[in-house]
């Protein structure tokens, strides 16, 4: 593939955001992580095509960028659901029965950790301590932190309708 085609795989908005990062970096590939996050912000995940285009734009090899992308747990190299649910499984939440909460969500959504619902709505992932241990157990959906969870709260949060689609409610 020609270089021009590779760069054109990134949108103008993505390129503009990446350029802002490059402006205060000593060399282009120094912004690799910021750039992966920018692409993911617009597309939800980082495809092979985006990764190759990005590597080319940052003047690094695709293999090196792949090594970086797969190191970080919040860079997604596979498509994820519209909403990514991050369930804290670290010690303070575990003491407060986070494993039961996780099982309950998994049953409701019909998926396991690391999986996405067939309708593409939700991806369920474990996450390291979210730094809200005084409100354990906790989880995050998108940018929102849900605290002091119990069975009832999870029921309300994931209130199933008559269809197979499970809707995410506001925190009760």
């Amino acid at each position: 593939m020609k270089q021009a085609n590779l760069i054109s795989a990134l949108s103008d908005r993505e390129l503009a955001d990446i350029d802002k990062e490059i402006a205060h970096a000593p060399y282009r590939c120094a912004v690799a992580i910021d750039a992966l996050k920018i692409v993911q912000q617009y597309r939800g995940w980082v495809s092979d095509e985006s990764l190759r285009a990005l590597a080319n734009y940052l003047e690094m090899s695709a293999e090196e960028l792949e090594g970086i992308a797969t190191f970080y747990n919040l860079i997604f190299r596979k498509p994820v659901g519209e909403k990514v649910i991050l369930v804290c499984d670290s010690v303070s939440c575990w003491i407060k029965d986070s494993d039961k909460i996780t099982r309950q969500i998994a049953e409701k959504l019909g998926i396991g950790l690391g999986e996405t619902t067939p309708d593409g709505q939700y991806t369920l992932l474990p996450v390291t301590c979210l730094g809200a241990c005084d409100c354990a157990p906790v989880l995050m959906v998108g940018e929102k932190l849900h605290k002091n969870l119990d069975g009832d709260k999870i029921d309300k949060l994931f209130s199933a309708g008559d269809s197979a689609v499970v809707k995410l409610g506001e925190e009760p």
């Binding site: 690799a32 860079i75 575990w94 979210l130 354990a136």
Partner: protein, 433 residues
């Protein structure tokens, strides 16, 4: 009333403090004093005298750390960097979130004074990805500072200049290790670097770099404004200043409070956290996050001072305690912790990459009733080899062995009951101790 410099702008409703409110309450006075009336060497001397020790976990004296940064012509041409380690991910730790979400200018003021002291001209806040509120607060506060002349060229009319950026990370606990953090900020995989060279001499992009924890930096301008003696007088025991102490687990009132350094564990647990939840008894606690050794009831009257907790066989770490109660299985708790560290290993060195999953596997066998009597010896051997500083590339794996080693010391009978009974006794309430 006790002096609480770090949380003076943080109310019970946790409303963020904006620039106007921050200044009204004495904000940016420390910066003004440092930058217009003191030399970098004066500032360094004062921070050294204050005996401030790093609040990220290691407790290294901050002034001493800074003193290794080459100054003037010795630094050679190019930038020097200050980095706030805001990658709060130690299990059970929830203090820096509070400081950044509720009082972002306090961190920024501390950072400007710290950067001035080491004559850095670029500063970064390395923030964990999930702290979206903190990111918004910090970005808005930095923009307000540029507008007001606290950042950028000619700060407060002097010839000092500083640029500040927020870097929102992409996950992984290992980024909290300072050299891994530097690699990540350079856009690389977050593998820790070999030391020496130390970051103070060769850090970010090969230039002199200081990495300090958020809470450490939040203290700096208070020390400059009010003096080293004042700061020393805040501590109850050997250590200076106040500290954000936290408690999580089965207690009545889990939370985070700014208290004098040297506050006894019992006071934090019983007065501030309200004691154990009804029906639960204390069996042990990790004094400062997931990578610290268990202590027990016998240690409740110890003051939370770095050296005292160290002598008792643990570490004060981040000062946020995790409580083990009598309904929670100690083997299960250690398994949770070791699985965490196994998952978060960067994979660079063998003892960590292969040793931690092995430990996790043995703990899983024991917890699920498939343990063998010789498993205890295996765990002990792992703890000895993986836990020894020098056998691994960084402190992650030795940190993982701290709760395991101490659990085998204090809760040995629990491990043995699992192995002999071939199941976890905590699954049936009547079999709990």
């Amino acid at each position: 009333m006790t002096d609480r410099p770090l949380t003076r702008n943080i109310g019970p409703d946790r409303t963020p403090t904006d620039l106007a409110a921050y200044e009204l309450n004495g904000g940016y006075r420390g910066l003004r004093k440092a930058i217009t009336a003191m030399s970098p060497a004066d500032c360094l001397e004062m921070v050294k005298e204050s005996n401030l020790r790093g609040r990220g976990g290691a407790g290294f004296p901050t002034g001493l750390k800074w003193s290794f940064v080459p100054m003037g012509e010795k630094a050679g041409p190019g930038h020097k960097y200050l980095i706030a380690n805001a990658d709060e991910m130690e299990p059970g730790t929830f203090k820096d979130r509070l400081l950044m979400e509720c009082d972002p200018h306090q961190l920024i003021e501390g950072m400007i004074v710290a950067a001035y002291t080491i004559q850095a001209d670029v500063a970064y806040i390395f923030l964990r990805a999930e702290y979206f509120d903190a990111e918004r607060q910090l970005r808005a506060a930095i923009a307000a500072c540029y507008e007001k002349g606290y950042l950028g060229d000619n700060i407060l009319g002097t010839d000092y200049r500083l640029d500040m950026y927020v870097h929102s990370s992409a996950g992984r606990y290992i980024c909290g290790e300072e050299t891994a953090l530097i690699n990540s900020l350079e856009g690389k995989r977050a593998n820790p670097r070999a030391k020496p060279p130390f970051p103070q001499v060769s850090g970010l992009w090969g230039r002199p770099t200081i990495v300090n924890n958020v809470e450490t930096l939040c203290n700096i301008h208070h020390i400059i404004e009010r003096g080293a003696d004042w700061f020393q007088s805040l501590g109850k025991g050997e250590d200076s200043g106040t500290k954000l102490f936290g408690v999580s687990g089965r207690v009545k009132n889990p939370g985070c409070w700014e208290l004098p350094m040297g506050t006894p564990v019992r006071e934090i647990l019983e007065v501030h956290a309200g004691g154990m939840e009804d029906g639960y008894k204390l069996r042990g606690f990790l004094p400062g996050g997931g990578s610290t050794d268990f202590l027990t009831e016998a240690h409740l009257d110890l003051p939370m001072d770095y050296d005292v907790i160290g002598k008792a066989g643990s570490r004060m770490g981040t000062g946020t305690m995790i409580i083990l109660d009598d309904h929670t299985c100690p083997v299960g708790m250690v398994k949770n912790l070791v699985e965490f560290f196994a998952r978060e290993s960067c994979g660079f060195c063998t003892p960590c990459r292969d040793g931690l999953p092995w430990s996790a596997q043995v703990l899983d066998d024991i917890e699920s009733g498939n343990g063998l009597p010789e498993d205890m010896a295996t765990l002990q051997k792992q703890a000895r080899f993986i836990g020894a500083i020098g056998n691994t590339h960084c402190a992650l794996a030795p940190g993982a062995m701290e709760p395991l080693n101490s659990a085998m010391k204090y809760f040995r009978e629990d491990f043995e009951r699992h192995i002999e009974g071939k199941h976890c006794p905590y699954r049936e309430p009547e079999n709990r101790p």
